[in-house]
């Protein structure tokens, strides 16, 4: 068919349009090539690349409030919507063609570390572990006495657990499983502490639907600032102008607790905020003005299913909200995407300790390492500098609760795509796990080796092949995280039963 000749006017029109789009496209694309321009990328407002309603994994990129790429993993996308998809049924050999992105390359050659020999799990574990029985017991379970004693009294008292971590934890995949399993056994203590005012996509809670209205200025321990005042969750949020936070139980008929607490900075006015519970405005919150922050509390007459907190005072910082019952167990996720052990130095130690003291946890769990495979402290033969960094992190978290039990969870396996196209575990993993184990031992903390549970060296490719890991080669899928959470819960419960068996005389002793 002959192609008609176009009038000059039409040709000019097309040329003009092409030029406009080209100029626009170049400028827009520039924001995707400049690492520090993440907050300028139009995809944030267009939602064009994001398919809603699909659970996407968290990665070690920055939250949207600020832009700083210095500490993000190379090759891991900053936009959650760019996260990869699992490739079930593919074995590691096929990965070179199937993987849609350039995976992370390790800084060192893919050779077996001397630390690998010290791992309990053989490096070539052929099958994934099954849930039946305890496949990876807790090490140093004697350090969990304070936690177990509290669990023993959970029918009349509340047991509180603070679980710190990075993106692996921020999606709540592991914590929700442990929370659910332990609550089944020891009773539902409510939602516990949760961060308020942050974009909830960056710190999820399976049992809560948290939202916010208004513009919020958010500071996290990832980027520093705010003079180290972040509160228990490592996040402080201050509305620019007007701000409302709301939280509701995520399941029909679910309740959040019967006691509400709010952690804020020192307020200037008498009524810096307005609290609504189950749609009713609540007056008469008890105000506890401490040296470094304020603690507000109230015991409503009914079970709480929804909370709405309106910040009335300009500049008021909200650190978090607590909703709990008087007994049972709370498992509180306090994770910040992208952090490493060094990030905890951003905390003002006194400020955190004061809030931890107020929260009075019975167990503090720390799970870091997802953003530390290139940690300079791991370069030395003994990993001494990394161990010190990790010990400092533990010390920072425990400062306000010296009597609380402590547990370190090893990082999950991470991989890279080797030159032959195969997916291999990062060789540094075994060393990092061992250093964390040593640090836990030195700090008097129990240790659970999640890395070895996964299968140790080479595990990631097997989990990837079974649809339990994402193709970013860093994160596990929901299925994988649930598997880890279940195994951890199994280990904790088994250790508790063991403690009950051998420590019967202590069970009536003091709580701490």
């Amino acid at each position: 068919m002959p192609v008609p000749t176009l009038p000059a006017d039409v040709t000019e029109a097309r040329s003009h349009l092409l030029q406009v789009w080209l100029v626009g496209l170049i400028l827009v694309l520039a924001t995707y090539f400049v690492a520090d321009a993440q907050s300028l990328r139009p995809g944030r407002v267009l939602g064009a690349l994001g398919i809603e309603g699909v659970h996407l994994p968290f990665n070690s990129a920055k939250p949207p409030e600020t832009a700083d790429s210095a500490r993000s993993e190379p090759g891991v996308a900053g936009d959650p919507s760019r996260a990869g998809i699992p490739l079930p049924g593919k074995d590691a050999g096929e990965m070179s063609n199937a993987s849609p992105r350039q995976p992370v390359r390790p800084p060192e050659a893919a050779t077996e570390s001397s630390f690998a020999a010290r791992s309990d799990q053989p490096a070539s574990a052929p099958d994934l572990p099954e849930r039946a029985g305890v496949l990876r017991p807790i090490e140093g379970g004697q350090h969990l006495g304070a936690f177990f004693r509290s669990l023993d009294r959970s029918s009349t008292e509340l047991t509180r657990v603070l679980h710190y971590g990075d993106s692996t934890l921020a999606g709540d995949g592991i914590a929700k499983t442990v929370r659910s399993r332990l609550k089944q056994r020891f009773g539902d203590g409510g939602a516990g502490f949760f961060v308020a005012g942050m974009d909830a996509r960056w710190m999820r809670r399976d049992d809560l639907r948290i939202g916010r209205d208004g513009e919020w200025e958010v500071h996290t321990i990832l980027f520093g600032g705010n003079q180290g005042r972040y509160g228990l969750g490592g996040v402080s949020a201050r509305p620019r102008g007007l701000g409302v936070v709301h939280a509701v139980a995520n399941r029909k008929g679910g309740t959040l607790g019967r006691r509400i607490e709010v952690y804020t900075n020192l307020a200037r006015s008498e009524s810096p905020m307005r609290l609504q519970i189950n749609g009713q405005t609540i007056d008469g919150m008890q105000r506890n003005r401490l040296e470094r922050f304020e603690h507000w509390s109230i015991n409503p007459d009914e079970d709480v299913t929804s909370i709405k907190l309106s910040v009335l005072e300009s500049g008021l910082e909200v650190y978090g909200i607590v909703s709990e019952f008087a007994q049972g167990l709370t498992w509180e996720t306090t994770a910040v995407v992208g952090i490493a052990s060094g990030s905890l130095r951003q905390f003002n130690g006194e400020h955190l300790a004061a809030q931890t003291r107020m929260r009075d946890p019975h167990l503090i769990v720390l799970m870091l390492g997802g953003n530390e495979t290139t940690h300079g402290g791991l370069a030395s033969a003994d990993g001494r500098i990394y161990r010190e960094s990790y010990l400092n992190a533990l010390s920072m978290l425990r400062r306000g609760a010296p009597g609380a039990a402590c547990l370190v969870m090893a990082p999950l396996d991470q991989a890279f795509q080797a030159e032959d196209g195969r997916v291999r575990s990062k060789p540094v993993m075994s060393k990092m796990v061992q250093v964390q184990r040593d640090a836990a031992n030195e700090a008097g903390c129990a240790f659970w080796d999640s890395w070895s549970f996964m299968g140790g060296n080479g595990a990631f490719s097997r989990w990837l092949a079974q649809g339990m890991a994402w193709t970013d080669l860093v994160h596990l899928t929901e299925k994988g995280l649930t598997r880890v959470g279940d195994a951890f819960a199994d280990a904790l419960l088994a250790e508790y039963e063991h403690w009950r068996g051998v420590s019967a005389p202590h069970r009536s002793g003091p709580n701490r």
Binding site: D9, V20, L27, R44, G50, E52, S310, L312
Partner: protein
């Protein structure tokens, strides 16, 4: 579901299609693009849309062939065409929850999820209105039969699927049947409308919503009367800028392909009466209701009481299209009464004489009363139920909070911009428009990209949906 904001990328698709020289190929791809946009929303939704389209095409064909002039046949077909939309509106208004409260077993047995928001499939509203328009025009012999591709383009013209403007088949078909080629003026005009639309939606409406409107409507009791008043005005501006911004992008995208679409707004907040407001707001829907409801009922050429009846039916229909809820019913009743009052006053010679002798006072007073009425009625539009509307109203009038409004700088800046865009004099608009039309491609490309980048910088990372997408 795709974010409705990603529909702002439709101009890119329009530009690609514009570059095709073959008219038939271009028309085919325009039709397929509409199909793709609907299918991307979800296969189940696409099947519903396909059902309505097939019913309309075959039903109309059979009606015209077998029972020409049959009013019963026409009525039956229209009922079938609007049924899916009405069902979605009922479901969205809480029918499932209501039934579940009466008999949970019934809901479980029917396999209906109790906690779904029942958002209608993308394009269902627009396609339903156009289906009725197509059927009635064919039945009236005002429209000849068209081929499947032309029918598909008319029904599923991709830029306008989310929220119109609603097209009349006779106007639109005439354009696509002749070679439609965009000329230089069309491209510059199209880009201008796209730039305006992106600015209104992303730079102004979304910021106002995030920084002021949403917090106040979320918990009105926490704010002062002044803050609630400002937020209410801000919401009134936001909904206009959101909807007209989307419409600008749609009209601009179509213009890039050489197709002129009807305008949907004519500076509605300049209206000096409620009747005038409805002639300026969502004009394509108002025209549709006028054409297919108001006039068949007798229009103006009836007795006074029948006129008021016709007005009330039309306005209430316009209102409950947004949702079959008491809020929208009351919203329609209030607006209907206001239009009737307006008509009644115009029938009074004394009133006409009085306003005619004091045009300035009448005009200013009319504008103040109209704008205030529109703003206050928006409470019913924004709140989910009557109890919330009542609560909002009470807080507004009896707020305990006092002091200066505590909105942030971004809110104030965007509110001022919203006022400027909404109430700018025609002469100023023309001057800026003329400047754009003379501008170079580099300037235009930079400004369009600048809007997107600035909007991202002002955003908290969450795309706010088009308000009218949900209807």
């Amino acid at each position: 579901m795709i974010s409705s904001n990603s529909l702002l990328l439709l101009p890119l698709l329009a530009a690609l299609l514009m570059s095709l020289r073959q008219q038939n190929l271009r028309l085919l791809l325009i039709a397929l693009a509409g199909v793709a946009v609907v299918v991307l929303e979800g296969l189940a939704d696409a099947l519903i849309i396909a059902g309505v389209l097939t019913l309309c095409l075959l039903g109309t064909h059979l009606l015209v062939r077998l029972r020409p002039g049959s009013r019963a046949g026409l009525a039956a077909l229209i009922v079938l065409e609007v049924a899916p939309l009405i069902i979605y509106k009922l479901l969205r208004s809480g029918l499932v929850e209501w039934l579940a409260s009466i008999d949970p077993v019934l809901i479980v047995g029917a396999g209906l999820p109790a906690e779904t928001d029942w958002l209608p499939p993308l394009g269902l509203s627009v396609i339903t209105f156009q289906a009725v328009s197509y059927t009635v025009d064919r039945w009236r012999n005002q429209l000849p039969a068209h081929g499947g591709v032309h029918y598909l383009i008319y029904m599923g013209f991709f830029p306008h699927l989310a929220a119109g403007p609603i097209l009349r088949a006779s106007d639109f078909m005439a354009q696509i049947l002749k070679p439609c080629t965009a000329r230089a003026e069309d491209v510059r005009e199209g880009l201008w409308r796209i730039f305006c639309g992106l600015t209104k939606k992303l730079l102004i409406a979304d910021v106002i919503a995030r920084a002021g409107v949403n917090p106040v409507f979320s918990d009105p009791g926490a704010f002062s009367t002044a803050e609630i008043s400002i937020a209410l005005i801000a919401y009134t501006l936001q909904i206009f800028l959101d909807f007209s911004g989307y419409t600008d992008v749609v009209i601009g995208s179509a213009r890039l392909m050489g197709i002129r679409m009807p305008e949907n707004f004519d500076r509605p907040y300049h209206a000096t009466s409620i009747a005038e407001y409805w002639r300026r707001w969502h004009m394509s829907l108002s025209a549709w209701v006028s054409q297919y409801v108001y006039r068949p009922l007798g229009g103006n050429r009836v007795t006074a009481w029948k006129l008021y009846r016709n007005v009330m039916i039309s306005i209430i229909l316009l209102a409950v299209w947004h949702g079959l809820t008491p809020n929208f019913l009351l919203y329609g009743l209030l607006h209907g009464c206001a239009v009737c009052l307006n008509r009644w006053l115009l029938r009074s010679p004394e009133w006409v004489r009085w306003t005619g002798s004091r045009p300035m006072i009448a005009s200013a007073g009319g504008w103040i009363l109209t704008f205030a009425f529109v703003v206050i009625a928006r409470i019913l539009f924004r709140t989910p139920d009557l109890a919330s509307a009542q609560e909002f109203g009470l807080y507004w009038l009896t707020a305990e909070q006092a002091g200066l409004p505590r909105f942030g700088l971004a809110f104030w800046g965007c509110l001022l911009a919203a006022l400027a865009v909404t109430f700018a004099p025609v002469r100023a608009n023309h001057a800026i428009h003329a400047w754009w039309m003379r501008g170079s491609s580099i300037m235009q490309g930079t400004l369009i990209a600048g809007v997107l980048i600035t909007a991202a910088a002002l955003s908290d990372g969450q795309a706010l949906h088009f308000i009218y997408r949900q209807f």
